[in-house]
Structure formats: structure tokens, C-alpha cells
Amino acid sequence: MTEPAGPIFIRGRALVLVVLVIGFGAGFVKSFHRAPAGFFHPRSIGNTGAAEPHIETRFVSGGETPQTHAPSLVELNDGGIRAFWFAGSREGGKDVEIHTAVFPPGRAAWRGEPPVASRAGTQKSLRRYIRKLGNPVAVRAADGRIRLLYVTVSVGGWGGSSVTMTTSTDDGKTWTPARRLITTPFFNLSTLVKGTPFLYDDGTLGVPVYHEMLGKFGELLRLDQTGAVIDKQRLSSGNDSLQPVVLAQSDRNAIALMRYAGGRPPKRVLRVSTDDAGRHWSHPEKSALSNPDAALSGVVLDDGRVLVVLNDIESGRDRLSLVASRDGGGTWKTVITLEDQNGLRGRPPDRARYLETTEALARDSDPTVPNPASHARAAAVQMCGGAGCGFEFSYPYLIQARDGEFHLVYTWNRSFIKHVRFNRAWLDRRLGETGNDQRH
């Protein structure tokens, strides 16, 4: 056997051994210092909201861009709410940016602010080519900073996505240069965010993500306090689950609900559960909730009830409901149907009728809108085609603020972001009323 005659570092046997000792020494030191698995840290927000039941709706965005989609929310230190969504000429367009607006405390209107991320800016920060931006989600980290995670694509469609993160130390006024999270070994392709991130008890961050190249399945990232990925776990496998939402009921118990992307009826939200803080998850099962391959969102109340907002139909996204469960997602009861144009499905309205209907919807959604007809026209641009016009109320994102108030945002006909705010008293009254509930 001949001694290799390459560069010096692979020629000497002793030197190779030294490299082995140094490399693995450093590797084992790092491995033994990694954060142990954390426990869930469910937020305990009691009934601190206003005593009088109330629900109110308004638009967040003002129609500055033709298309808007995929909103998310984070509570600010002063009790205000900041929303994020992506918007541009069309989904996947090069002009799509991550927009933001603030709902200040004590006010009843959203205040738009300049976009927080653009394709060019992200490209400059990441020092790599970026083709388009997508879903943003925000979370307040244990150290008080806001982390904004959003989808970026360098090559191909959404299946080629990766997750990019930027951080703010001043509640969203300024943002650090973006950094990319590496989450898959194959060109870092196919990790997307949508579900609400959450904190573990050790301050690490859980980020529900999903994969949609070759297979479609839910995953859970864990980020340390510097924002580095320290673990990734599959919540499901196969080709039929997307956009997990993790709902922790205690430090060890949680369910994760996932959008059903399969074609096998009945089309239902998929559900997995854990009783050991996510060390192990059950196999996905179809829940009682209908799902038309659309995103959902939810929160857990301090009394263990689970609230979920979703398109509770098997096709289309023209009905959106708030549902509640008292038994950890076993059975569900409709609290309110927030939007419902499902009855028009069989006979899609022509443009004139669509404009009339949508103008009325816009007026009902936000009485302060100066010109509901312009909202209707903007919606028609997105939702009318050769086969008539349709409705879409999708991609809900629900949070509960420290004052007990619930804030929900969702895509309204692909052209606006709508905000619904309600309190615990309203919720309890709705759930206590008879005749308005539909059991699932």
C-alpha cells in the first residue's frame, strides 16, 4: 500500500490523527453544551378584558397594493398590536414586500408604516439572489426582541422556499439585516412558515414550519436565543399535511393542527398530540374539523379551551369560522361564522353583482372606510375571472393580547387584510347562547 502523496494535511498519518482529535474534541464539547429539550410555556392570560362583551371589525391595509395575503400579528410592549403581511402586484411578484401596520392602544384604527422587508433589501442582507418573498410571522422572543420570520425563494416556486429572519429591538421601528435559517440539506429548499411561533420554558423558540417538495408535511423548528436553529422535528410525514399550528395546553401537553393537503375525503384538519412536551408526537389523525386545503390559526385559553379560526368547509375559502373546543380538540362548537359567501358557490356572481355584494361586505366590515366601492373594485381585480367572481377569506392568524383581548387578522378577497377584535366576555356569551352552535 502506498502512502498518499497529496497535500501535507492528508499525507501524514499523525497529522490526520491530530486533526481528528481537534475536530471531534470541538464537536463533542459543542454537542454536550447544546440546550436540553425544553417544555412548553403556555401563556396564562385570564379574563382581564373589558367586562362588556364586544366584537369589532376593520381593515388593516388600505389597498396600497393590488394583492395582499398571509397576515400575522405580534403584541407590542405598549399594548398595541403590529401586523405583518406580504403585498405586491401579485403573489410571487418581484415587487412583493413585507408590509406592516400598528394598532395603537386606545385607538380604533390601524396606522400604516413603511414596508419592513423587500426582495432587494433581503438580497443585500443575505448576499445571495432572492427571487420572491412570502408568508411573514412574528414572535416576541424571551429577551423581548421581536423576531420576524418570512419566506424567501431563490429558485423555483414555493416548494423552493427557505426561511429568513430579521430582528427588532424597538418593537418594529427598525430591523437588523436579515439572516437565512438553514433547515434542509438539499440546497436549503422547501421550508415555509405560517403557524404562530411559541416560547419554550427555557426561552428557546418553537417555530412551526412545513415542507412541500416531494412530500408535504409539518415540522417544528427550535431556535436558541441567538436565533440559531438547534433542532428540527417532523410532526407528520407523507404528502398531505401543511402549516402546523401548535397549541400548548400545559408544559407537557399540546396538540398540533395541520392543513389537510391530501385529496382523500373526508377533507379534515389533521391533528397530532404530545404528552411529553414534544419529545414524541402521535400519528396524524383526521379531526372533526372540515378543511379545504387552507391555513388555520388558534390559541389556547387559560381554562384549557382551544379557539381555532378556519375555513370549515371542504372546498373553497369563502366561509371562515371561529370554533372552540373544551376537550383538547376532540369536539368542536362553532362560536361564530365570520364570513360566509358559500351559498353563492353554485352560481358565481357576475362582476356587477359581485361589486354590489362586496361593497356591502366592505361597508359592514369597516364603517369608517370612506369608499367601500373602491374596496369592491380592488377585490374584483383579484377575484373575478372568466368563470365569474369568487370570494376568499383565508389565512387567519389569531392571538390573545395581555389585556385578554383577542385579535384576528385574515386575507379578505386577496386585496385587503381584515381585523376582528373581540373579548372573553363576548366569547363566553356566544358559547353560552343556544341556537347558534354547530357541533362538529
Partner: protein, 203 residues
């Protein structure tokens, strides 16, 4: 301010875009000093910002950061042309190509969702995974496959010091480019054996 991982990532992309020059026979016939100057000039063009981003950044946007294995193979591929020294032992190159090819063919389908088990998760600091790699590296060292031992050890070290953007050890061991190269080399070696049974495997 530019991050260290951006510098290492762009350097890897520059290396990957520059090294293929040596595939051109006219370049290989040049004097060593001319090869060095040509590669240096090419590297500057690739790494210098032209428009919003350097060419290396576009490449990095497409294929990501290169693994340590790829970087080592590129360096030992370029090294003889610049130094005049002999190539690494063929046996070593063949062994690492077989190891990379077999690992990639098992690893990537599983990591991309073929079945419920995700081997990529092991790369987030599993001591058992590290122990397995140590055993493999020591076995390779004992068998005098020093290139394998060196690549594994440097990958583990690079991950420990956060050389690349990724925090996952797999990304330091393997990447799709080296996997494609290894599979190609293994298949072309096998075809040569089939075409010339009993013949010497020459390139």
C-alpha cells in the same frame, strides 16, 4: 457589516465557480504560473460585485454554502495544477466518492420526506451521530483512507466553530453538488469496469 459566514460562503462559491476552468484542456496545458494568474483573475471577477451582487452570490443563492467535503475535494483538485505535486492517491478519491454516493443516496430521500425518519435531525448535535462519525473516521484512518478521515474531522470542527451559516453537521459533511459528483464518478467507474472487465481502471 459582512458576517464571517458570508465570507466563507462566498469564498466557497467562488472556488466552485473557478475550479471548473481546469476542466478545459487548453488551461491544463498552461504553465503553473499562468494557471494561477488565470484562476486568480477569474476568482476576482466572480467575487467582485457586478450589479447588485457578485456572481458568486447568485451561485450561492442557488446551491447554498458548500460542504467541507466539497471544499476539500476542490482544493485537492486544484492543488496539483498550481504546485506541480502529484494528485491524491486514486484509491483515496475512489473511496470517498463511494462513501459520499452511498450516503447521499440513502440520506437525501429520507431527509426530504421519504418515510417518517429524518436523519437530518441527527446533525443538530446528536452525540450518538458524532460517535458514529468518530468510529467511521477512525476506521478510515486505520485503513489509511486519510482523505475520508480528514474530511469528516474538518467538517465536525467547522460545524463546531460555525464556519458556515448552517448549524447542522450534515451540511458540513455533504451537499448536493458533491453528491452528484460522487454518484457520477462511481457510475462512470462502474461503466469502465463493465466496458473493460479485468482491465486496469484508468482515467
Amino acid at each position: 457589516m459582512i458576517n464571517v459566514t458570508d465570507i466563507t460562503g462566498l469564498a466557497g462559491a467562488t472556488l466552485a465557480l473557478t475550479a471548473p476552468l481546469l476542466l478545459a484542456p487548453p488551461v491544463r496545458r498552461l504553465k503553473r504560473i499562468h494557471i494561477g494568474l488565470l484562476m486568480g483573475a477569474t476568482a476576482i471577477v466572480v467575487a467582485a460585485p457586478i450589479g447588485p451582487l457578485p456572481l458568486a452570490a447568485y451561485a450561492r443563492g442557488g446551491f447554498g454554502d458548500l460542504s467541507v467535503t466539497t471544499n476539500v475535494l476542490l482544493v485537492i483538485g486544484i492543488y496539483p495544477h498550481l504546485s506541480g505535486r502529484r494528485r491524491v492517491d486514486r484509491r483515496e478519491e475512489t473511496a470517498i466518492c463511494h462513501l459520499v454516493a452511498v450516503t447521499a443516496l440513502v440520506f437525501y430521500p429520507l431527509a426530504l420526506g421519504f418515510g417518517p425518519f429524518d436523519p437530518y435531525r441527527l446533525g443538530y448535535g446528536s452525540p450518538w451521530f458524532l460517535a458514529g462519525l468518530l468510529a467511521l473516521a477512525l476506521g478510515a484512518w486505520a485503513g489509511r483512507f486519510h482523505l475520508i478521515s480528514t474530511c469528516i474531522a474538518l467538517a465536525v470542527l467547522a460545524q463546531a466553530v460555525s464556519w458556515n451559516e448552517s448549524t447542522n453537521l450534515w451540511d458540513y459533511l455533504l451537499d448536493p453538488l458533491v453528491s452528484i459528483y460522487a454518484v457520477f464518478m462511481v457510475l462512470s467507474g462502474a461503466l469502465r469496469v463493465v466496458a473493460h472487465p479485468g482491465g486496469r481502471d484508468v482515467r
